[in-house]
Symmetry: C3
Subunit: 205 residues, 3 copies
């Protein structure tokens, strides 16, 4: 199994657990929890595939991810009281997942011959839209629209990857460099509580 | 007209009325009521078609369903005070509709050569996603995520159908058997107030 | 540059500003504002393209619109206190945008060989669905479902256009006539506070 596949699975697990935890906070039943976990994991890639016309969408063609999501959800339900003790590991998986999903999205869009700006947009959609769908289905304003710099990190990471690839760096190195920067900035952003400059202060200026 | 077409139309009518009633509870205008009725009826099949790349989506190619939905919505608006007296018939149509939509979804996915698990998922999406969209557009947490065993019945019915077909039963019989079981379990579930085992009791164990 | 392109850009600007203003009312961050602006502008056309299988969706193939939306959003953020003074111009752009988006949607659906009723539905989706998505992402019941006759104007305008084209009028004239009628009715509707006949009074009859 390739290293990217392993990281991809870790990212999938992390997204599924994040979805399951949100669903349990909303007191959903087992079916609801499973659906939210699935949607959080595959939602971003699904929208990307639909927008560029790559159907049937990816996760329908690879059962590994469906089984991983099922298993992660069941584990999340059983051990949900214990999950707070591994929150730090989950955050790491999640951050790696975001980085990888972004790179994968940029690559797929780039292979489809789309404009670099669109590639970065699609990379960001791949990484972020699962969480947006999770929040919509749970009847909340998507958290990435008002709290975290989550998406900004994806835009940055995707742009770096695309620049490196454009200037001739082999894909795997470009991915390693851009992915590491993405993970680093995301971690710093959360640790130091970075947020985008607010547009609302200006009212008092 | 074939028997499946008649049942399909009865299911469509039932879904349209269910959507129209929800929209009227939210005090929407005539246009809003019509859209919610349409979305509740065709939403599930539309998502299925988009996910597997079967476009233009089915309902755009068959005007019968569009006209049926228009008519059902107008009837629902005019006779909405009387509809409570036929709630039992509506429930029957709805249950038959769910069963049929599930079977139809499984068949279409199976014909597209997808994995059995994905076929069942797509059958369930066909039957349930219209209601999910209805609830999202009405700004509520989708009811199937926290209250009914609606979707579980679809998963069960879809799995039975697929097993029967795999073991060589002709499609029409497999549909009859799996459909009847789906209708029976759904009816029993509502009559006896079955729900999925809660995951939230365990906290006190 | 053609006149329709100029009008199209004006409509895009207007939709983007409307999205940005809504997002700022919800206190979203810069990224959230940008996404809501983008979704409001391109959401309708995107759903239309996905439903008829025209992928990659249009806005991904034409960077002009992406840049226009970026610029309009930044302008909306900087000058948001001043925007109330140009509300009348914004309303005009918006109305022109709706008319044009409807005609464009009808044309594209018609070219795909779909039934006239479906063409009008797709024209209406093109013009209205961006606003629906904006409201869903901002966790509100879509405004067009309960307040404005917005969508009804699109249905009317789309039907007129299609009739004129069917009876042999050249596209550009049909568009001019149907578009002008759409703009006129929409303006009258807002000025005179027209709304659809309520279905809720009948309860007292």
């Amino acid at each position: 199994m390739e290293i990217t596949t392993i990281i991809d699975i870790l990212g999938t697990i992390s997204f599924a657990i994040s979805g399951a935890l949100t669903a349990m906070r909303k007191k959903m039943d087992v079916f609801g929890i499973l659906i939210i976990a699935l949607v959080t994991s595959v939602g971003g890639g699904t929208l990307r595939d639909i927008l560029i016309g790559k159907t049937p969408v990816s996760w329908m063609l690879n059962m590994t991810f469906v089984y991983v999501i099922f298993a992660a959800t069941i584990v999340a339900i059983i051990f949900r009281s214990q999950l707070k003790y591994v929150r730090r590991s989950l955050f790491l998986f999640d951050t790696i997942g975001i980085a990888l999903y972004t790179m994968a999205g940029v690559q797929i869009a780039s292979a489809a011959g789309l404009h670099p700006v669109i590639c970065v947009v699609l990379g960001t959609i791949s990484a972020c839209f699962g969480g947006v769908l999770r929040d919509i289905l749970c009847n909340e304003i998507p958290v990435i629209f008002h709290k975290e710099i989550y998406a900004t990190v994806c835009i940055l990471g995707g742009s770096i990857y695309l620049s490196l690839e454009t200037y001739g760096m082999p894909k795997v190195y470009a991915m390693l460099v851009a992915g590491s920067i993405t993970i680093l900035i995301r971690t710093l952003a959360v640790v130091r509580k970075w947020s985008l400059p607010s547009v609302y202060r200006k009212q008092h200026a």
